[in-house]
């Protein structure tokens, strides 16, 4: 089998889900602010392919890509965003704060950096429950300046906990460029402060991510402690749906479209001589999956108001 072709299919599943979400937001079937991951498909596809069943995954509000790559059903995600009873959290989480433990997705988080301490805890639990669990937490470049992320990296390092800190560097924190908010733009170098492995890698190539994250996971599982991986990538769309993106730099998006994961993978496959038919199939299969999921999600009943007060306490 062809890994890159599979990766392309996985990336199309994310891309097309997000396109569908954008469509449903435009029609107001989905309401509220939505953060798309278009352009950031390679990281989750590469990383989740080396995460084990017992491993933990904590993402952010920009987490649809990680949820899909981790195996959360597209229909459950769409239903969640649509506020349906069949959503992964029955509509309680929404676009920016859903989770699906049954599928190994331990949650988005709408507080910047707040997923990191939770991941540390998941790894800590693994020290005692015999799972030898590795916890992966993903956050953005801007989150590197949040106190909780700093505390988590040092805490995991001091306790030799198997936590993989994945920083998706898409060069923007909302509307502000990361290179103006730090002096040392190579965020991976912060790993040295904590005495842990730090690497900046190509976040647009799923195989690179698979290899580097895979090695880090292996080392962590063997007791080597945490690692910080900086995935260089780009957000091809606004920070949120509706973002006028006035902050974009000249030529930025054009250049980004050249290197973005799906364009790159498609080019590579062509170079490798993969037939256009199979390349198209990777997209079309994903498209029908997303279309079917959307149809089903839109037919599902709205979240059940009669249960709105349940489950606050045990």
């Amino acid at each position: 089998m062809n890994t890159l072709l599979d990766d392309l299919h996985q990336m199309w599943r994310i891309r097309l889900l997000e396109e569908k979400v954008r469509e449903l937001r435009a029609s107001n079937d989905i309401v509220g602010s939505v953060h798309l991951s278009i352009g950031q498909e390679a990281g989750p596809v590469g990383a989740c392919s080396v995460l084990g069943e017992n491993d933990a995954l904590f993402a952010t509000y920009r987490g649809h890509n990680w949820a899909v790559a981790r195996g959360v059903p597209v229909e459950g995600i769409l239903a969640e965003l649509l506020g349906r009873a069949t959503g992964v959290n029955g509509g309680r989480g929404g676009s920016a704060y859903f989770s699906d433990f049954a599928h190994g997705f331990h949650g988005e988080n709408s507080i910047v950096g707040a997923g990191a301490p939770l991941a540390v805890g998941a790894a800590l639990a693994g020290k005692y429950d015999g799972t030898n669990r590795v916890a992966l937490t993903v956050f953005g470049d801007g989150a590197m300046n949040q106190g909780a992320v700093h505390e988590s990296m040092n805490f995991a390092a001091a306790l030799d906990l198997p936590v993989i800190f994945v920083c998706e560097n898409n060069s923007w924190s909302e509307l502000t460029p990361i290179d103006e908010m730090v002096r040392n733009p190579i965020l991976a170098e912060r790993a040295r402060a904590y005495g842990i492995l730090g690497e900046r890698i190509d976040g647009n190539d799923p195989s690179v991510v698979r290899d580097r994250v895979g090695d880090a996971i292996e080392a962590a599982r063997e007791g080597g402690g945490p690692a910080l991986l900086e995935l260089m990538t780009q957000r091809l769309v606004g920070h949120y749906i509706g973002d006028p993106e006035q902050y974009r730099r000249p030529g930025e998006l054009e250049a980004a479209r050249e290197v973005e994961p799906i364009a790159a993978a498609t080019r590579k496959l062509r170079e490798q001589g993969t037939s256009q038919a199979r390349i198209d199939e990777a997209e079309s299969n994903a498209r029908s999956e997303v279309e079917d999921a959307a149809t089903a999600a839109l037919q599902a009943p709205l979240a059940d108001v009669s249960t709105v007060k349940e489950h606050l306490y045990a």
């Binding site: 509220g32 602010s33 506020g83 950096g113 300046n145 106190g147 108001v305 709105v308």
Partner: protein, 318 residues
């Protein structure tokens, strides 16, 4: 007079402060060049240069630096994008800003203004929907106000920046880009404090604050609606006098009921010995986390109908 939206009114007040008070600084995440994620500070970086700037996503550093700069003669105006985000850095408000004047025995002050916005909006998750005024109102040393109209957004922002105490202005994103209204922008700077009587009536006194005030104003038949736009200082005398006259009290807030500031309002009124014709009523969100799905959130947040029903029910009782 100019017609301004709520966001434009805050912007106009900030512009005036930056213009008239050389010590002011305006900063926070996306506040400078981008003009704010909600567009509230649009154009101000262009107009005032490096006195208006962007910061890293570091709330402790944002708030703490504002306290420090204020101790050294500046009048920083900083933004915490959502009041929910105070929780990563509350120390700088409660353990730092609030102590400056008192612990220094009155020799040092910290005249900073913290702008934030809070509450639910359709689809917002539990981490972007909270109403945390009760935390600040339990913190001696901090002033708090909550405008819900363009004119108040302008006046209160101005008063807050001129105030010599650390002051939190709690805005609401659902109001930012609503209908424009005529706003007096060349009036005197008002002192902090005071309330707004939004409706006359003698059956019930309804005390409310924040965006939900707009619903209350619409809902409250034959009630005296007092919007306490300033929560610290709170207009106790006016509220108590009103309840003395009507004999009935309802408090409406979007924060969840238990431990909300509505309890304080009820307690002060009864402690004052006001004779009530019927037990007081709090109309608030039940003690839940806020679910993202609008149908669920709407089942928890009081709307015009449920507020009207509760108030007329109170008017009829006793």
């Amino acid at each position: 007079m100019r017609k301004l939206s709520y966001a434009e009114a805050v912007n106009a007040a900030l512009r005036r402060c930056l213009d008239e008070i050389p010590e002011t600084l305006l900063y926070g995440e996306d506040v400078g060049v981008p003009g704010g994620v909600h567009g509230v500070s649009k154009g101000l970086h262009k107009a005032f240069g490096d006195r208006v700037f962007d910061t890293p996503i570091s709330e402790s550093a944002i708030l703490g630096s504002a306290v420090g700069a204020a101790m050294f003669g500046r009048r920083p105006i900083v933004e915490i994008m959502w009041s929910d985000f105070f929780l990563v850095a509350l120390d700088q408000v409660v353990n730092q800003a609030a102590n400056v004047r008192y612990v220094s025995n009155g020799t040092v002050k910290a005249p900073l203004t913290i702008r934030t916005q809070q509450g639910n909006s359709p689809g917002a998750c539990a981490q972007h929907s909270q109403n945390l005024e009760a935390f600040f109102l339990h913190t001696p040393g901090i002033r708090v106000c909550m405008p819900s109209t363009p004119q108040d957004a302008y006046d209160l922002t101005l008063a807050a920046v001129h105030c010599d105490d650390p002051t939190i202005v709690i805005e609401n994103r659902t109001l930012y880009h609503g209908a424009k209204a005529e706003v007096v922008t060349d009036g005197e700077v008002q002192p902090i404090g005071g309330l707004r009587k939004r409706r006359d009536g003698d059956a019930v006194t309804v005390v409310t604050w924040g965006a939900i005030s707009r619903r209350v104003e619409e809902a409250a038949e034959n009630a005296e609606v007092l919007e306490t736009v300033w929560l610290n200082p709170f207009p106790w005398d006016e509220v108590i006098a009103s309840v003395r006259r009507t004999g009935r009290l309802a408090v409406v807030h979007e924060a969840n009921r238990t431990g909300g500031f509505g309890a304080e309002v009820v307690a002060r009124v009864v402690e004052a010995g006001v004779r009530l014709a019927a037990p007081p009523v709090r109309i608030a969100v039940p003690d839940m986390r806020l679910p993202a799905a609008p149908v669920l959130a709407n089942a928890l947040i009081p709307d015009v109908r449920s507020i009207a029903a509760a108030i007329s029910d109170l008017a009829a009782r006793g």
